[in-house]
């Protein structure tokens, strides 16, 4: 059970990391190829420290890995945590689709009742 809690914390961290549009954009950029902090900072009009902060959040969430070359330490995307998120969301999609099918049916019964009253 302790392991489950740790994994759950990890997932919360993933969601927290994904909650920011700049960080999502950084991940989108890294989906193309690995990049250095300088390269990542360029399109966002952000200071290097600001970008570094976002990268640290993404690194803690396990969404990116950093190379060991001391000077550049390029960032690369790690998609594993995203897969856990996708599993959660995909399970819920079916639940919601079924709910809205029922909403549709229920709305039809309400409309029928109204039509009958009108007659």
């Amino acid at each position: 059970m302790t392991t489950a809690v740790i994994e759950e914390d990890r997932l919360s961290e993933t969601f927290a990391a994904l909650a920011n549009s700049t960080r999502r954009a950084i991940l989108a950029r890294l989906a193309d190829s690995a990049a250095t902090v300088n390269e990542l900072a360029e399109p966002f009009e952000l200071t290097l420290p600001a970008v570094s902060k976002h990268i640290k959040v993404l690194e803690r969430a396990g969404l990116i890995r950093r190379g060991q070359q001391a000077q550049y330490r390029p960032c690369a995307l790690d998609a594993a945590p995203l897969e856990a998120v996708s599993t959660w969301a995909e399970q819920y999609r079916a639940v919601w689709e079924a709910r809205f099918d029922r909403m549709d049916d229920y709305l039809a019964t309400l409309t029928e009742t109204k039509d009958r009253r009108r007659r």
Binding site: L27, A98, L110
Partner: protein, 166 residues
């Protein structure tokens, strides 16, 4: 949803209903209407307390019949945005019957489920018909109220750890 970074981090469903926007709004906000469609097939919603105002709480019970007797699941949350006939945003967590949040793993669910999620409902009046976009996301960590949720989750984590050996 597949967003710009190729990740699926939310459920987004768009539907059009052959009903006026006021009625679709009631589907979400009127306990009787809500109970009529929300539960899975064969389930009932014996409790739906919906305090539809910003900061208002919700408490929903889903009851399913099993061979071992009725099984209840409780969900609680808070309304974040309420714009009548246009937009509804609320949070959702699994809970007990008093609305105390319980983690999915405590309840034996898969570990991939976030403790708190947020449901967004956007309605567009199409003149007698309604387009609805429902978004269900894991709660963003840096949104207002996240600190409170994080504290609740921390408390639960330590609670679960102390009780893990039982």
């Amino acid at each position: 949803m597949t967003n710009s970074n190729g990740a699926q981090d939310a459920v987004v469903i768009e539907r059009s209903f052959d009903a006026p926007v006021e009625l679709i709004w009631q589907m979400w906000t009127d306990p009787t209407h809500f109970a009529a469609w929300y539960g899975p097939d064969g389930a009932t919603i014996p409790v739906a307390k919906l305090e539809v105002r910003v900061g208002g709480t919700r408490l929903v019970c889903v009851e399913m019949q099993t061979p071992g007797g009725p099984m209840q699941m409780w969900f609680t949350g808070e309304y974040r945005e309420v714009v009548e006939n246009e937009r509804l945003v609320y949070t959702e967590s699994m809970s007990d019957e008093n609305g105390t949040v319980r983690t999915p793993s405590e309840l034996g669910m898969s570990e991939g489920h976030p403790v708190t999620t947020e449901v967004h409902v956007d309605l567009v009046d199409l003149g007698g018909r309604t387009r609805m976009v429902m978004t269900h996301v894991g709660i963003p960590g840096d949104s207002p109220g996240a600190a409170g949720w994080a504290m609740a989750i921390d408390k639960l984590a330590s609670y679960v750890q102390t009780h893990a050996d039982r």
